[in-house]
């Protein structure tokens, strides 16, 4: 299993506005929270999902699209 730091570095190499990067980094944040809470299996699953997201890049904004949180203070 790749370390969270190594996968984060791979995510960090993606363009800043890449939506798949955002998904991957969110999974890595959650993986660290799971590890801190003692759930190693869940941590591994989240890291694996982040790796898959970085590889496949299924999330992306089309030209002109914006990410809409459907509420105030959307992160974007």
């Amino acid at each position: 299993m790749a370390s969270v730091a190594a996968v984060r570095a791979r995510a960090g190499a993606m363009p800043h506005g890449d939506l798949s990067r955002r998904f991957a980094e969110n999974d890595l944040d959650a993986a660290l929270a799971e590890m801190a809470a003692g759930d190693v299996d869940e941590c591994h699953e989240l890291v694996a999902r982040a790796i898959r997201t970085i590889r496949v890049r299924p999330y992306r904004l089309r030209p002109g699209e914006v990410l809409d949180g459907y509420g105030p203070n959307s992160p974007d």
Binding site: A36, A37, G38, Y59
Partner: protein, 644 residues
């Protein structure tokens, strides 16, 4: 039937389990709570904060779950009751603060080591207790037995008083030998007089959570451990034995004031004799045998906005089905197997809230979870003096139903009647062979739900139905029956029966009747809601049986969603459905060049509810286990009341 009459029906139905615990001085909860005047009240029992692996502070979670209206433009979800079910083990973050990732003003990720000695929300933590810091400094963690009683419980009580609603400190136990289980031990939390505590909840976590590695626990004035004898057999068959010991501990120490409800029960796959993995049917049988009044069901997956609801291909069933696990969703499957024994074994639902994925806590979109009450609601009977004990009594009784996406609301009736006697969910109607049993259902479909999306439901568009996602219509309700053939003893070869997607634990289970707009009565209400009523009859034979119900907004034979009988298909198939409305949100995945239905759009599009069973037993036949366990609860009420 008026709401008042509905309440009376439900109230009568709850008598065998009502008033189970000692009276509690919850003076902050009004005697006539919620002004709902409805037969059921809605809650949630499984949710997380930064004390474990969630993203928001404990107080923020309760504000959103129990608050009404909006706060600074952000919707609250107005639940009637709330049980905090955070993981066991340990956590290094201070859950008086939300994570930076939650994107809440003024909140940054804060660790216990940042706040030691400070008084925050009237709570002062001076030391991280237990044997050794876990993990070691600089971000040492607090064991959960400490945060349960010193941090979460005081916040829970403060919020209960603020909102004048029932709030309980519970736990999502990380189960030895298995995955997780929702639990609560309310002993001491709501004293008749004086200050309460969550010490029994804390002790249970220390003793029986496999992620709690602390060997010490709290100490007395002489520095001697208070809770001795903890076992560290946490995996495989030995771990399961420890799990059963945990249930036995609850049955002995809190037979009417605790519950043990395994959750997302299929997610970790089948049981492993050498590791900690999932559950098979024999493990639920073991729990119910060891804890007849505390281990009475299982809970749905939660994580409803997450892709595949956190279930991977290695889960039992390989996926979720209409948002539920295989054990619940498959007719004739595990749930029907347990009911076919006549067991008191019920289905529950909760949010399993952690976070909103790539979105912040105030956003309405989600790629992970929903807040308690936002999407998922577990309904238990209302009472004129609703207390924490009422939640546990309602759950134990089986008189409850579980709803996703506000497909139906709390005004629900599901009864079976014969010879002037009426019974509801969790109860048993005694009849003579040949008697006509009348089944009645009444429900209210709200005009709209909490969905942020109003474009046409992409699943239904496949079959030419154009229905706004935020205005779901109940398409049909299935009445599902199954024969009861008796309790399978542990010595029986079929007691430990492996599970596959094709396993039938109760081959007699079937859809007995389906109600839709062609054979029901629909009455528009002035507020835009729709009341639906169904009545049918069945003729009792010589074999005991049960009737349960499920409903959905999905038609039968919706491609990738339901089969020709209306059964939910594996939710992984929904990845095949294109979301091509111009309003489809940009966070949905793109596969082969087209945006697909996933995350919260999938959750709001594919809605189901499940109602617990009513049993029908021919007179003269031995009582079913559900009846004898109800009798046990009733006798415990008398015994404990006399002792108090």
């Amino acid at each position: 039937m008026s709401s008042r009459l509905l309440l009376l029906v439900t109230g009568v139905a709850s008598v065998p389990f009502g008033l189970a615990g000692p009276a509690a001085a919850q003076d902050w909860v009004p005697a006539k709570p919620f002004a709902r005047n409805s037969p059921y009240v809605a809650g949630d029992m499984h949710n997380h904060t930064t004390c474990t692996d969630g993203t928001v502070a404990t107080s923020y979670l309760l504000n959103r779950a129990l608050g009404t209206g909006t706060t600074n433009g952000i919707s609250n979800f107005d639940l009637d009751w709330f049980t905090h079910g955070n993981h066991g083990g340990s956590g290094n973050r201070d859950c008086r603060f939300s994570d930076t990732s939650a994107n809440l003003p003024g909140n940054t990720t804060t660790y216990w080591t940042d706040t030691l000695g400070q008084t925050i929300q009237d709570i002062t933590i001076t030391a991280l207790k237990g044997d050794v810091p876990n993990p070691p400094p600089p971000r040492a963690a607090m064991y959960r037995w400490q945060s349960i009683r010193e941090v979460e419980y005081p916040i829970i009580i403060a919020k209960s008083k603020q909102f004048k609603k029932v709030a309980i400190e519970g736990l999502e136990l990380i189960v030895p030998g298995h995955e997780h289980s929702d639990t609560a031990v309310i002993n001491g939390q709501f004293p008749v007089a004086g200050v309460g505590n969550a010490d029994r909840m804390s002790e249970f976590e220390f003793r029986f959570d496999r992620a709690d590695t602390d060997t010490l626990g709290p100490v007395d004035a002489s520095n001697n451990p208070v809770w001795t004898g903890k076992s560290f057999d946490n995996n495989g068959t030995a771990g399961h034995a420890k799990a059963v010991q945990g249930v036995t501990w609850l049955q002995a120490n809190a037979p009417l004031t605790s519950y043990y409800v395994p959750t997302h029960t299929e997610r970790a796959g089948p049981f492993s004799p050498t590791a900690s993995a999932g559950y098979n049917i024999e493990h639920f049988r073991d729990f119910n045998n060891a804890g007849p009044t505390v281990a009475f069901g299982i809970e749905s997956p939660g994580h409803f906005a997450e892709s595949n609801h956190s279930y991977s291909a290695t889960s039992s069933g390989g996926a979720t089905y209409g948002g539920n696990g295989l054990y619940t969703a498959k007719i004739g499957g595990l749930w029907d197997g347990m009911l076919g024994e006549g067991r008191n074994f019920f289905i529950f639902i909760s949010s399993d809230w952690h976070q909103r994925g790539i979105f912040g806590a105030r956003d309405r979109a989600s790629t992970a979870d929903f807040f308690p009450g936002e999407y998922t609601r577990l309904h238990v009977p209302n009472q004129s003096a609703f207390r924490a004990q009422s939640v546990l009594d309602g759950m134990r009784s089986g008189n409850s139903f579980s709803v996703n996406g506000q497909l139906i609301n709390q005004n629900f009736t599901f009864t079976a009647s014969a010879n002037g006697v009426t019974r509801t969910m969790g109860q048993t109607l005694e009849v003579k062979p040949g008697d006509t049993v009348t089944i009645e259902m009444r429900m209210v479909v709200p005009a709209s739900n909490n969905s942020p999306y109003s474009f046409s439901n992409p699943l239904l568009r496949q079959v030419g139905v154009f229905q706004p996602i935020d205005k779901p219509v109940l398409d049909h309700v299935d009445l599902i029956t199954g024969d009861v053939t008796g309790v399978i003893p542990p010595t029986d070869a079929n007691y430990a029966m492996p599970n596959t997607t094709t396993t039938l634990y109760n081959p007699s289970a079937r859809i007995a009747e389906t109600f839709n707009q062609n054979n029901s009565t629909a009455t528009p209400l002035r507020n835009g809601n729709l009341r639906m009523e169904f009545t049918t009859t069945m003729v009792a034979g010589s074999t005991p049986f049960y009737v349960r119900a499920r409903g959905t907004n999905m038609l039968p034979a919706v491609p990738n969603v339901t089969d020709s009988q209306g059964n939910p298909l594996a939710d992984t198939n929904i990845d095949n459905v294109v979301c091509d409305d111009s309003a489809c949100p940009a966070h949905l995945p793109i596969i082969d060049g087209t945006r697909r239905v996933d995350f919260d759009v999938e959750a709001w599009s594919n809605l189901w509810f499940y109602a617990n069973p009513i049993f029908i037993r021919p007179a003269g036949q031995p009582k079913l286990l559900i009846e004898t366990n109800a009798d046990l609860a009733a006798s415990l009420v008398k015994t404990l009341s006399a002792a108090n």
